[in-house]
Amino acid sequence: MINWLNQHVQAIKLVLNRMGHNKLSSFMISLVIAVAMCIPGMFYMGVDHLSKLSNHMQDETEISLFLKLDASPNVAAEIAANLAKNTAIKQYHLVNKEQAWRELKAKAESSKIDTEVSQLTKNPLPDAFFIQAKSAEPASLEALKNELQAMSGVDQAVLNAEWARRLSSLLALGTKIILFIASLLALALLVIIGNTVRMQILTQKEEIIVSKLIGATTSFIRTPFLYAGMIYGLLGGLGAILILCLIVLLYNQSVTQLSQLYHSDFSLAWLNSSLYLAIVLTSVVIGWLGSYLSVTRAIAAIKID
């Protein structure tokens, strides 16, 4: 056990020593891995934040029910009674046209559309019910909307979260695209790391031949190269996290300004430990696999005579 551990410690020491001698090329390889790992990470972060946002919107499962402009208060009362009976509805409230008109005018005075609103001579707004459904299920919401739409005196029923749902299905598509991009980049990384390790094997050909001659097992020869691949992967993964953090930092400066305009405290999250962990683990595994594939082939190809 101690011997086994010792062998690995020796291998890591050897690799770090070699990397120390070739700082620039080690840095370059790690940078390539960092950039390649960073791209899917960036996409993921974007999609992740948008889908959180759209989920948040979908939670507000409000249906707006606009009555016909000429609907009498009796019709409104009838509809209110129907809504009260409907078991799918959690709560509702009526905003009648006068109330809505007053609110609009009040809002207009405090903003720039004052003149446009004051030009209106007559109230253009209908009575409206704002309804909170019990269920957040898209299908049952859709059914409720249709049911409400069918009631007499109703001009239009609008599901407020409809656009958010469309966005979220678009985002699901986006997630799939990320998966493709990530797999392609992983494949490219395998080749890049494999090639790098192969070049190193060629420069260490003498050492491999001598080691074979004095009785080194394949695993003894292979171990340092596997560690090299894993260390490149580790450095690349950490580099990718660094780049992602930089991007978040730069974006947040403009995103906070934007979200302040919308009275939201939305900003990109700094810390996404599961994403970071996934990036590092993936790149270490890719590093190991890439070097394993090329070192096994290369060692078999080196003839000791």
Binding site: V210, S211, I214, G215
Partner: protein
């Protein structure tokens, strides 16, 4: 210890490098393999060290048939040998100490114990004061002695040297041969291939003389002269 039975080795696209060679080397012997260049000396040593496999016939090392060894058993077989080459095969990217410690690392020996053994091996070949030197700064004779230190550091029971004195002048060559004699005297089996049988030894030593891949009747060298 080492037994060749009707061993023939043919490389693809060439004549037989060895044909129908049979001999036995007992533990603790000092044997010289002689013959003109191209007579098959290196092939013979490579067969012993499990670097090559015979085309036909059997090579037994410590009662194990080389041809039937599984590939992953070969490294362990090779650890019985200390190999010394004409071109030293030293690693020029590390110092003398690190060159000699390599076989110990392969045998999972590290730390103080390894360092002690490396210094003992360097001391035996008279290079203890050069442990931090890079091999490229050593003379030809010193490089060959360093290669011997590397070959003996893991205390192999068989020492195999292919033309160890090939590029050395005679005083260095005698120096190297003295080292081999010393190992022979402490019970190590030593096999030395050389095209230059003279000036090698003053003792009675066994000689395997090869001529165009065939083993000629065994001779003894006495007082530096062949008694054919």
């Amino acid at each position: 210890m080492i037994k060749f039975d009707h061993v023939t080795k043919r490389y693809p696209g060439s004549d037989e490098a060895l044909s129908q060679v049979s001999f036995t080397i007992e533990a603790g012997e000092l044997v010289f393999v002689t013959g003109h260049s191209g007579a098959g000396k290196s092939t013979l040593l490579k067969l012993i060290a499990a670097i090559e496999r015979p085309t036909s016939g059997t090579v037994l090392i410590a009662n194990q048939n080389i041809s039937q060894l599984r590939p992953n058993a070969i490294p362990y077989m090779r650890r019985r040998f200390g190999l010394i080459f004409q071109d030293h095969k030293l690693l020029y990217d590390r110092n003398c100490f690190e060159n000699v410690i390599l076989p110990l690392h392969i045998n999972d020996i590290t730390g103080l114990d390894a360092a002690k053994r490396v210094r003992a091996a360097l001391d035996k070949v008279g290079l203890l004061h050069k442990e931090k030197a890079m091999p490229i700064t050593l003379s030809g004779g010193e490089q060959q002695r360093l290669a011997i230190a590397r070959a003996v550091v893991s205390r192999p029971s068989i020492l195999i040297a292919d033309e160890p004195t090939g590029n050395l002048d005679s005083s260095y060559a005698a120096d190297i041969m003295g080292i081999f004699q010393a190992f022979h005297q402490v019970g190590v089996t030593v096999i030395v291939a050389t095209h230059d049988a003279l000036g090698m030894s003053t003792d009675h030593n066994r000689v395997l003389h090869l001529d165009h891949g065939q083993l000629k009747p065994t001779e003894f060298i006495q007082n530096g002269h062949s008694n054919v």
